[in-house]
Amino acid sequence: MQEIMLHLIVFSTFGLVCVAGAVNLLVQRHPINSALSLVVVMGSLAVEYLLLGAEFVAAVQVIVYAGAIMVLFVFVIMLLNAGEEERTKGSRVAMVFGIPGMLIGSVLVAWVLLEHSGTGNVATGALPGAPKVIGWLLFHDFLLPFEVTSVLVLIAIIGAVVLASHPGSAQQGLAQPDKRKR
């Protein structure tokens, strides 16, 4: 009984932190605040994964998502010196109809899920996702998607390097004076 209450308490606490972070992302005007609230969301999601027993997924979520992808976002915000958002015309209609619509839609979906979904309870640590087992699956059953995603990442690296490099330096090559400090 104590364990059930503890599971519910931890789930609710970190669920509330997730939702608060997500709402904060919408409300904040400066992108750096949105980025940091997204990091908070990812951290509390990692705790939710731990509650479901997915320990390796939780660790990878922290290392890769919160610790690398969001650092990339923070870098870009710092480099481009993104300031606070300005109000432009196009968003009025979406605000007036969209936000209440989204709220009503979410409440409806939540009610249907809670009352009529027909799924049972999930225990704490229901499906222990040990790294060994997940590694086995990744390299045996899911080998083709694994190799394909590695090719995808390679393409993304090449694309990002080409897109973010200085325009014209690729074509002109030696002709352009190299202004980088040696």
Partner: protein, 346 residues
């Protein structure tokens, strides 16, 4: 054990670990000043207490009494939060580091670490990845060109060397078969031919140890990789605009990171708390592993400080080229060869 007992034991362990870690950070600073001083043919701190042993106390009091200045145009919430973030994540990784076997105190059977998780190594790596935020946000929120450049360079360097750090550890993981730090240490117990200990560094992971060493120097922003915070280069890099207690927090975070890295190296490559044969009464046998562990960490930190006093620093482009073009392929090659040999043996 019941929930109440568990919480009580955990709180006691957390308090003890925090006190020990903060004292260790303070005395690592003292050790560095003495060792670097002797390398440079001078004494280091000698006046405050015998051998300058009370110098950290004097430094702490100085930091508390110094004026806590907040420059006018900084982005205040992040300016104040960034050193806290850096320090929090530097201190968190100690929670999964085991320093000895399971002991039984007052009838409670507990491991000598705050929690014993199956993915301990991944948690340390995750917390290290999150520590980049402290540096990046400090550099940006300080609203100064030296800070921004230093912060960007430092965080790019930390993110780049994290990969080599992680890959160098995978060889050890393949040999031990688990992410649990306690199991990795237990796989290194015993000896070869009676006197060479079965540490991972002697079991073929010597290249991985050197990759880990170099990646650790870069992760903790220490010489020879400390361009982002060198005084002759960028004033003080990302902590230029910080004074008093906030600067002290960055300082403590850097040394706490050093200690964490030293703990990991000891656990993964130097055999953890295993020492020469067991002797003495049971109470001594419970304490002796801690002694071996601390001795190995001390040796590793001495190596850290020795390198700091001896080598010049890399230029930034040399540093990044070294990380991506040399360390990363070497770490991958080490991983492939280790996996090959382990698969051949099995």
């Amino acid at each position: 054990m019941s929930l109440g007992e568990f919480i009580l034991v955990s709180v006691i362990k957390i308090v003890i670990a925090l006190i020990v870690l903060l004292t260790a950070v303070a005395y690592t600073v003292w050790l560095e000043r003495k060792v670097v001083g002797h390398i440079q043919n001078r004494w280091g701190p000698t006046r405050v207490g015998p051998f300058g042993l009370l110098q950290p106390l004097a430094d702490g009091m100085k930091f508390i009494f110094k004026e806590d200045l907040i420059p006018p145009h900084v982005y205040k919430p992040l300016y104040i939060a960034a050193p806290m973030i850096a320090l929090i994540f530097a201190l968190t990784s100690i929670s999964v580091i085991p320093i000895g076997n399971w002991i039984t105190v007052f009838g409670i059977h507990t491991p000598l670490e705050i929690t014993d998780v199956n993915i301990g190594l991944l948690i340390v790596l995750g917390v290290t990845s999150l520590g980049v935020y402290g540096v990046a946000l400090a550099g940006w929120s300080s609203n100064s060109k030296y800070s921004l450049l230093g912060g960007l360079r430092a965080s790019a360097q930390m993110v780049s060397y994290e990969i080599s750090l992680g890959l160098s550890l995978v060889g050890v993981l393949i040999m031990a078969g688990s992410f649990n730090l306690r199991e990795i240490v237990d796989a290194q117990s015993g000896t070869f031919w009676g006197f060479i200990p079965r540490w991972n560094i002697f079991q073929g992971q010597i290249v991985a140890f050197f990759i880990y060493l170099m990646a650790a120097y870069a992760e903790t922003n220490r010489i020879p990789f400390d361009l982002p915070e060198a005084e002759t280069e960028l004033v003080a890099g990302y902590h230029t605009e910080y004074s008093a207690m906030k600067f002290a927090m960055f300082f403590m975070a850097e040394y706490a990171n050093m200690i964490t890295v030293a703990c990991l190296a000891t656990l993964l490559f130097l055999g953890g708390w295993h020492g020469p044969h067991r002797f003495g009464p049971p109470i001594l046998q419970a304490i002796l592993p801690i002694f071996w562990f601390v001795a190995k960490i001390f040796a590793f930190l001495f190596l850290y400080i020795w390198v700091r006093g001896t080598l010049p620093r890399f230029r930034y482009d040399q540093l990044m080229a070294f990380g991506w073009k040399f360390l990363l392929p070497l770490a991958i090659a080490n991983l492939v060869i280790t996996a090959f040999i382990v698969a051949l043996r099995a």
